[in-house]
Amino acid sequence: MVPITTFHYLVVAAALFVLGVIGVLTRRNVVIVLMSIELILNAVSLNLVAFSRMWGNLHGQVFAIFIVVDAAAEAAVGLGILIAFFRNKETINIDEIDLLKW
């Protein structure tokens, strides 16, 4: 069996990234778009931790911890904005959130 190298982890991270991008660009429900953004962040964290193991130091792992912190802050604020918008317009359909269109 082929030994599992850094490259295998990069492929998994790329697959998760592409799935997250598909979710952000094609889904209608705003909450699922936010969840796809979390998928993207996870893919990047996995990439960083895989490289951290390859080089043998801890910079990638510390960066991954900061990514988790940032994802928490962004999820909180994003969901707050979503709740405020839902209170005004009663929809979570991204096709109907078009106030900036002319």
């Binding site: 069996m1 030994p3 599992i4 190298t5 850094t6 490259f7 295998h8 982890y9 998994v12 790329a14 697959a15 998760l16 990234f17 592409v18 799935l19 997250g20 991008v21 598909i22 952000v24 660009l25 094609t26 889904r27 209608r28 429900n29 909450v31 699922i32 936010l34 969840m35 796809s36 979390e38 998928l39 996870n42 964290s45 996995l46 931790v49 895989a50 193991r53 390859m54 801890l58 792992q61 510390v62 991954a64 911890i65 900061f66 988790v68 912190v69 940032d70 994802a71 928490a72 802050a73 909180a76 604020v77 707050g80 979503l82 709740i83 405020a84 209170r87 359909n93 991204i94 096709d95």
Partner: protein
């Protein structure tokens, strides 16, 4: 007293902890460090789980199913961190991400009307454009991986696991200089969390 004595003499292999101890003693060498066991099997299992969870996040009707699939992905990625000798990041991932952020998502899904969302159509109006862009991105990744396959050193270092938390703590909280390289970033991250708390509270207030 006598039942206790008979219980203590009971064969260890009949108890699940005894079976686990026996198996660990088979694979662990004498100095106490664990050698990796069946790495390709666990890697393919965990990465398959992560990608399947990601697929279900993107394609399910019900947002609660998507949230549960994302929890499966997060826990699979935490196990991948364990395979990469990053136990602290794995713990942070499970506690904060799967245990905090996903619970927040589920609360918001419950606050926002989901019965109508489950019967709505799944994909938005311009989904072919999004799919084409994502396929272009996948083509870019594939070309980068094919061209750059031999660029990385193939060594897989076995990082020390027992001192991982201490070393991350030294990097995060140590004195800013040689040891604590990320102390300033840690303080900025706490400021970021403060701003996020204020933002989330103000966003959801009815009257500011």
């Amino acid at each position: 007293m006598i039942p206790l004595f008979i219980w203590a003499l009971d064969s260890p292999l009949q108890h699940p902890a005894g079976i686990a101890a026996f198996l660990i003693s088979v694979v662990a060498p004498v100095n106490g460090e664990m050698a990796p066991v069946a790495t390709p099997f666990f890697f393919y299992l965990l990465s398959g789980l992560a990608v399947a969870g990601g697929f279900f996040v993107v394609t399910r009707h019900n947002p609660v199913h998507c949230a549960l699939a994302l929890i499966v992905t997060l826990i699979a990625v935490a196990h991948l961190y364990l395979m990469l000798y990053a136990p602290f990041v794995a713990g942070v991932q499970i506690i904060v991400y799967a245990g905090g952020i996903m619970v927040l998502f589920l609360f918001v899904i419950m606050l926002v009307n989901i019965e109508r969302a489950s019967k709505d159509r799944r994909f938005n109006r311009i989904w072919p454009v999004g799919l084409a862009a994502a396929c272009a991105l996948m083509g870019l990744f594939v070309s980068a991986f094919v061209k750059g396959r031999g660029l990385f050193p193939d060594r897989m270092i076995k990082l020390p696991e027992a001192s991982n938390t201490q070393e991350i703590a030294t990097a995060l909280y140590g004195e800013a200089g040689r040891m604590g390289q990320y102390t300033f970033a840690f303080e900025i991250a706490s400021l970021l969390l403060l701003v996020a708390i204020l933002g989330a509270v103000i966003m959801t207030k009815k009257r500011i």
